[in-house]
């Protein structure tokens, strides 16, 4: 049976036929895009139906988020969001809370309902907006129930008296600890590690974790995504992560597929051997493949520290305050491990945040290209916080892809201009326009929960380059709406090596669509993020979004 989806317009992202009015689908595959007339040859001798549900809507290829972390999301989504930025979630929009007073009010309203057994955990506190947090401050809002305030960057949390009691954290145990301020109830960096040790039974509780994965399912659908990538399986515990995702996502109610990319060093540890054993283990992972969850020949490596925590590695002149970034791999070992996967033909995805972290990845790629040249190799720079124009030129010549987190620019460019790296570098974070000009395959991702899992939001930032203070940052690095849409469809598909199957609407690809109320290519670009997403279609099946 053939089903024809009629639309006001179909944006195919197929350069040879950019627009259509209808798409014919059979058994989850696209027969053709075109008009009712051009589709006729398929219809004369076959049964078909015409679906007019989307006749006043715009169909685009199913949106793709090529980098997020379901297991991190599963920990975070059960918490209550009180955030400085607005977060649209399927169960309601978290409004922007921008002052200390508003924060206290929001917390007061929220903490009557525990999020974890008897504990209430809220995420999103940022001192710059919400003022310094302390035990006394939370006590004054809620004194009886255990309340935990988790910082937006993940690197700090704060508890009230009831929570300290509940978790059995006593003054005499921690009073000398340099990264625990017991008086203020604050746990940061390693102190946070200690607190999380106490919290793990709650946040990693299998029931709550599964519930978190269910919530992520809603979030992904709500964002209009039909494909996501788990860009570091093994972050917590490989078996648990894989099994939980199989349990929650491997069924016909799931409106998306998950491309799984293994965390190289976690797999090396799991293999019990050295680097080569780790590679053998990753090579065997395709045995786990099922309909919705698949491992390809790709692997995740890391160079430098987290962008939100200001531990990205920077080239001169570094950070304004002179502090040091961090390496997540020893540079020499990064090269050794990259060489193993390069020589075995993998697509290597490298987490890079600062320009020095990026430089290490590019230098390594240049060496590997010299030793064993490869084409269309899929070496991808993930996040792409700070870069230089010269690096964009080099990575283009070396054939690398870029998967950027444009949202950094929205949330961080103003504060980073003032307090971290200065205006020039802050304004050019996520230097995406240059990537398109140099012909680099460039996609956009959320790294959820670093950014909302909403590809249209990422596209909006990349097209407008407006930050949360409504300043336009480096307008020269803006991209066109057409390029923006490519970045969250066909380019994202290329980055995952799935462009032969998804990423555009053309004969022979999977029938994955996202249905929009407005045309993202002709609407005022400033409204892109507010476009209503009506439904998604995953392999021909409609999944409405209320």
């Amino acid at each position: 049976m053939i089903e024809i989806f009629k639309a006001k317009s179909v944006i195919t992202v197929n350069p040879s036929m950019p627009r259509a009015e209808a798409v014919a689908v059979r058994d989850g595959l696209i027969l053709e895009a075109g008009t009712l007339e051009t589709l006729q040859p398929w219809l004369v001798n076959n049964e078909y139906s015409i679906n007019e549900q989307f006749k006043d809507s715009i169909i685009v290829p199913g949106l793709i988020d090529p980098h997020l972390h379901p297991s991190m999301a599963a920990v975070l989504l059960p918490t209550f969001f009180i955030t400085a930025m607005e977060w649209k979630l399927p169960w309601g929009t978290t409004p922007a809370t921008k002052t200390p007073e508003a924060y206290d009010e929001a917390l007061k309203r929220a903490c009557t309902n525990p999020t974890h057994k008897d504990l209430f955990i809220t995420w999103g506190h940022q001192e710059l907006w919400h003022g310094p947090i302390s035990r006394d401050r939370i006590n004054s809002i809620e004194s009886r129930k255990p309340v935990i305030v988790w910082n937006r960057s993940f690197h700090e949390l704060c508890m009230n008296d009831a929570a300290l009691d509940y978790l059995d954290i006593k003054e005499e145990d921690v009073k000398n600890a340099s990264q625990i301020d017991f008086v203020k109830g604050r746990f940061f960096e390693l102190g946070l590690g200690f607190a999380i040790q106490k919290l793990n039974p709650f946040i990693l509780d299998p029931e709550i974790f599964s519930n978190g994965l269910m919530k992520l399912k809603e979030v992904v659908h709500f964002g209009g995504q039909t494909t996501i990538a788990d860009m570091a399986v093994g972050l917590f515990n490989f078996d648990n992560e894989l099994n939980a995702q199989k349990l929650i996502y491997e069924n016909e109610d799931t409106p998306f597929r998950v491309e799984l990319v293994a965390h190289a060093t976690a797999m090396t540890s799991l293999s019990g051997g050295g680097l080569e054993k780790g590679e053998e283990l990753i090579a065997s992972l395709h045995e786990h493949n099922s309909h919705h969850l698949k491992f390809g020949k790709r692997v995740k490596l890391f160079t430098d520290g987290a962008f939100f925590a200001q531990v990205a590695q920077l080239m001169e002149p570094g950070y304004i305050d002179g502090h040091q970034g961090e390496w997540l791999s020893t540079p020499k070992q990064f090269e050794e491990i990259a060489r193993i996967y390069w020589n075995k033909g993998y697509a290597i995805h490298v987490h890079v945040t600062g320009d020095l972290g990026l430089e290490l990845a590019i230098d390594t790629l240049e060496k590997l290209q010299f030793e064993k040249p490869r084409f269309n190799h899929g070496f991808t720079l993930e996040h792409f916080g700070l870069s230089t124009p010269e690096q964009v030129f080099r990575l283009s010549k070396l054939g690398a892809n870029v998967s950027a987190n444009a949202y950094y620019l929205y949330e961080l460019s103003n504060i980073y201009a003032n307090y971290s790296v200065g205006y020039e570098r802050a304004s050019s974070m996520a230097r995406i326009g240059s990537c398109f000009r140099e012909g680099v395959t460039t996609g956009l991702h959320s790294d959820f929960t670093m950014a909302p899992a909403q590809p249209l939001m990422s596209m909006w930032v990349a097209v407008n380059r407006i930050n949360e203070k409504e300043e336009v940052m480096s307008p020269e690095e803006r991209i066109t709406p057409q390029q923006g849409l490519e970045a969250i469809t066909i380019n994202a598909a290329r980055i995952l090596g799935l462009d032969h199957e998804i990423g555009s609407i053309r004969s022979g690809k999977k029938a994955d669509f996202t249905v929009l109320s407005q045309d993202p290519l002709t609407i005022d670009p400033i409204e892109i993020k507010d476009i209503n997403i009506e439904a998604t279609v995953f392999e021909g099946k409609i999944f409405d979004i209320n």
Binding site: L192, F194, T265, A309, K332
Partner: protein
């Protein structure tokens, strides 16, 4: 409170050797935590300690690693009957950050941070594009700098290190050309020291194929060898686990990398000529 000593230093600077030497110098039980990034989990196996007192972990950033291996291991060590804990950091860890484990984790106090600096590579590292700042910070931030494989001709470099990095009066540079463990332990209140017949330890890396016969010859030539453990890779690229106690020496096929690394515990001196290094 258990004293925690943090050992920093770039890859190959000699952290494992230092730890083995500390372990050989005392009969007291010492817990060892080896934190690398899981890339080369070999060093941990070259630490000659009571098995359950050495733990390897692969901690990363707390925001992307809620399963805090290091924290869990520190908790585990609290329940063991030990006199001290040595924390071997990854090659790019900063002493200031690692020292927080000693000053933050309940049940521990920070003894000191020691950075191991290796004479043959330090010049290059201090001008390396990627790690110069990290290596410099390791030197500046640590309480004690331990120089490994410095020859006496390296006085110039040592005095440069002294003038550039020895800003803090309390900081001290030990610049013996081999590890002077006795000196280190006497200066370090948090590490047990007993002046019993002192054994030395070294980690040997061999970059060419080597076989069983050569190892047995090396052992015969060096009666001072008390223990030997590690991996050798022969010309057929087979890797063998080598384990020598005082009475016997076993070779068994191993699935490890094609890398030859041996830790050797010995009295007096050893002659490395046979191994070609």
């Amino acid at each position: 409170m258990i004293p925690l000593t943090v050992i920093c230093g770039y890859l190959g600077s000699g952290k494992t050797t230092l730890i083995n030497n500390i372990l050989q110098s005392t009969k007291k039980p010492i817990g060892v935590l080896v934190n690398d990034f899981g890339e080369l989990n070999i060093d941990e196996q070259l630490i000659l300690n009571q098995d359950d007192l050495t733990i390897a972990l692969t901690n990363g950033c707390v925001c992307c690693n809620l399963n805090d291996d290091l924290g869990a291991s520190l908790e585990f060590m609290l329940d063991q009957d030990i006199d001290a804990v040595l924390l071997e950091s990854s090659g790019v860890a900063l002493p200031v950050k690692m020292s927080n484990y000693g000053s933050t984790w309940p049940g521990y106090n920070l003894n000191q941070t020691i950075t191991v600096v290796e004479g043959r590579t330090i010049k290059d590292l201090l001008s390396d594009k990627f790690v110069s700042k990290t290596v410099e910070a390791q030197i500046i931030q640590s309480d004690l700098i331990y120089l490994n494989r410095f020859s006496t001709e390296d006085v110039e470099l040592i005095s440069k290190l002294n003038s550039e990095y020895l800003v803090d009066d309390e900081k001290e540079i030990l610049y013996e050309s081999i590890f002077d463990i006795k000196n280190l332990l006497l200066k370090s209140k948090g590490l047990p020291y007993e002046d019993h017949n002192q054994l030395k330890s070294d980690v040997l890396q061999i970059n060419h194929p080597i076989d069983e016969k050569t190892i047995l010859k090396f052992i015969r030539e060096n009666p001072g060898i008390e223990r030997l453990k590690g991996w050798i890779s022969d010309s057929d690229k087979n890797t063998w686990l080598v384990q020598k106690t005082r009475s016997e020496c076993n070779f068994s096929i191993s699935n490890y990398e094609t890398i030859s690394r041996l830790v050797v515990i010995y009295k007096d001196k050893i002659n490395l000529e046979t191994l070609g290094i």
